[in-house]
């Protein structure tokens, strides 16, 4: 079996575009990225199922030149899952829009706080040079 080069290339381009869009901050662009990415992945399954053939119905053609039904079943499952993902991300983007007026994913507050402390080279408020005589871990922390 020789794989279909055109399909493989199309899948590659779609996956690349999808991943690029996933790196965006706006949830709507991420959503478009998810849709493109999953279509690319689904095409990969068609590549895996070998050359196109007759439909895989029992008795409609010789088994030797009918298409492989298993990847089709898997793609079907994958499509259903993509549908659910799309609905979920859409809902999340809408909720984000309701809350903030935009759908951009912001940084974590706690992360930003610790990064700021590190930038100023300060210890956190909770840091206190207590000696733990019974456990001795300040030997390790020094």
């Amino acid at each position: 079996m020789s794989p279909n080069l055109t399909l493989a290339l199309v899948a590659g381009i779609l996956v690349a575009c999808g991943v690029y869009l996933l790196t965006e901050r706006s949830l709507t662009r991420i959503l478009v990225g998810v849709v493109i990415l999953s279509n690319g992945v689904n095409i990969l399954f068609l590549v895996a199922s070998g050359p196109a053939g007759r439909p895989p119905f029992v008795g409609s053609s010789d088994t030797a030149d009918s298409a492989d039904p298993l990847p089709q079943a898997m793609v079907l499952t994958a499509i259903v899952i993509t549908l659910a993902v799309t609905a979920y991300v859409l809902a999340m983007a809408y909720r984000s829009f309701q809350l903030h007026g935009h759908d951009e994913v912001s940084d974590d507050v706690e992360d930003a706080r610790i990064r700021e402390l590190a930038g100023r080279d300060e210890a956190s408020e909770s840091f206190e040079p207590i000696t733990f005589a019974d456990t001795g871990e300040d030997v390790v922390s020094e």
């Binding site: 990415l37 992945v41 399954f45 899952i81 979920y88 909720r95 984000s96 809350l99 408020e125 390790v140």
Partner: protein, 508 residues
């Protein structure tokens, strides 16, 4: 013989019972009491069924069932060997106790903003997904199991749709979407290369492939599961997303979800790629996971975030065992996984109580909790010391087993890992001791609200947390038999019994 055939029909039940329950509870959306009753019944049934499966898998070897009555190898295979059965049992006990905890929370806090009608169906789906992932006999079914549990986790993580949770949810969803897509790519490649996705058949066909193809497939699957298990450098999403969810949700996520990833790494690297272990790569990743994770924990001031970072760091211990690829190492990894599921869940449940009593989980603003509520103090102290690996608790036994396996392997890298494990344990002790001394022992810092004087702990939630802590102690008491069991489980993984049993009907 008839009895044993009929008993394998139990295999789909850990998936079907919660699924059915999810449907029923969704219908009962306007009747919270009936919902609670149905989910409790379902989640009570699962541990009973899985105990039978555990017994069967241990005494009669690998249990399998070709679902749907297709001629093998066409149908979907469900397989329970010793490893799956143990993971299933621990997971079902943990989900049950978290469910009881969540029910207690419903009863205590009538005015919470979370839509309760969605919680129970989603939680049951999560449980079904976890069971499906543990029982899956083929890679695609494993993918479906992962998607089931991930979808439930998306919903649970963003319960109520507050600004914080939507932000945390976005990171979590995008990262997991990417890993799921990569999983599908790997599946397509596996199918194209071998013509099957059944793990038993793959274990026979993969060794015949060219070395480069095998390597590509192995790395792709490892990357997928390393994202789900939060192995460094693919772990940055975890501490950002877990802490914002409601307490019971964080507890079940921290306990179970990453461990399903660890299970999948364990399964694929032993059953599928036993002939070409990735020792060095896994060991280096394990060391980095341990050290980077625990360094993060030391820097944090929020209890939930500290615990999330220790979660990442302790994933390193399990990967250490898998990377050694010796029977001792695998056995240690399995034991450590079982221990860590219970301990993380117990800790996060207790933190849920802390949040309820103190109103916050930031150690900058907590203080004097041990004086306010000695019970809560004890409930935190015991699992915290267990996590750090103080003898004679289960954390100590688990770490000792892994260190022993590392020493026996004897390579310089294994020794480095042994040293790394010890440092990580000490730093874990430092991190939890910091929580203990600041929040429980010391007076609150100036300017913070005074510690609550009269504390009434919610009864059902406290009882659940106590049960979880007792379970972690029970693991220590039963460490001997349990370790013997995980030894046998590791042996099954590498003996090829899996493929022989599952494909018995195919050959004939």
């Amino acid at each position: 013989m008839i009895l044993s055939t009929s008993l394998t029909n139990l295999l789909p039940l850990p998936i079907l019972v919660p699924l059915l329950g999810a449907g029923v509870t969704l219908l009962l959306g306007h009747m919270p009491r009936a919902q609670r009753a149905v989910s409790t019944l379902c989640l009570l049934a699962v541990p009973l069924i899985t105990s039978v499966l555990l017994y069967l898998a241990d005494t009669r070897g690998v249990q399998h069932l070709w679902v749907g009555g297709w001629r093998p190898p066409l149908g979907i295979a469900l397989v329970a060997d010793r490893l799956s059965a143990l993971m299933l049992l621990v997971a079902s006990l943990v989900t049950l106790s978290v469910h009881v905890f969540a029910t207690g929370q419903d009863a205590e806090e009538r005015k919470v903003e979370t839509p309760v009608s969605i919680f129970h169906p989603t939680f049951l789906l999560l449980s079904a997904g976890v069971s499906n992932a543990f029982l899956a006999g083929d890679l695609f079914n494993l993918f479906v199991g992962f998607e089931m549990l991930l979808f439930s986790s998306y919903v649970l993580l963003t319960l109520g749709g507050t600004a914080d949770r939507i932000r945390a949810g976005a990171t979590y969803v995008v990262v997991n979407l990417l890993s799921s897509s990569l999983f599908l790519v790997a599946l397509a490649a596996v199918y194209a290369a071998t013509g099957t996705i059944n793990m038993a058949q793959l274990s026979l066909r993969l060794p015949d492939l060219g070395d480069n193809v095998q390597g590509a497939l192995q790395f792709a699957l490892l990357a997928v599961f390393a994202i789900k298990a939060a192995v460094f450098p693919l772990s940055a999403w975890l501490p950002d997303s877990y802490p914002t969810a409601p307490a019971p949700v964080t507890a079940v996520f921290a306990g179970l979800l990453t461990k399903v990833g660890v299970y999948a790494i364990l399964r694929t690297q032993t059953v599928l790629f036993d002939h070409r272990p990735l020792g060095t790569l896994l060991l280096v990743a394990a060391l980095a996971t341990m050290l980077v994770g625990i360094a993060g924990a030391v820097a944090q001031v929020e209890i939930k975030r500290i615990l999330s970072f220790t979660l990442v760091s302790h994933i390193g211990f399990m990967v250490f065992g898998i990377g050694l690829a010796t029977p001792d190492g695998l056995s240690g990894a399995i034991f450590y996984t079982a221990h860590h599921i219970t301990i993380q869940t117990a800790l996060f449940l207790v933190v849920g109580l802390v949040e309820r009593v103190g109103g916050t989980t930031s150690i900058d603003r907590l203080g004097g909790l041990a004086a306010a509520s000695p019970v809560l103090g004890a409930l935190f102290f015991v699992p915290a010391m267990n996590l750090a690996g103080i003898p004679p608790m289960s954390g100590f036994v688990g770490k000792l087993g892994l260190l022993d396996a590392g020493v026996r392997a004897g390579t310089p890298l294994a020794w480095l890992l042994v040293a790394g494990s010890v440092v990580t344990s000490l730093l874990t002790l430092y991190a939890v001791a910091k929580i203990w001394s600041r929040s429980f022992w010391a007076d609150p810092v100036e300017g913070a609200p005074p510690p609550p004087t009269k504390v009434r702990l919610p009864r059902l939630q406290t009882a659940t947390a106590m049960t979880m802590v007792a379970l972690t102690l029970l693991i220590a008491v039963l460490a001997g038999p349990l370790y013997a069991y995980t030894d046998r489980a590791a042996e099954t993984l590498r003996s090829g019994e899996y493929a022989r049993t599952v494909l018995a009907e195919v050959a004939s």
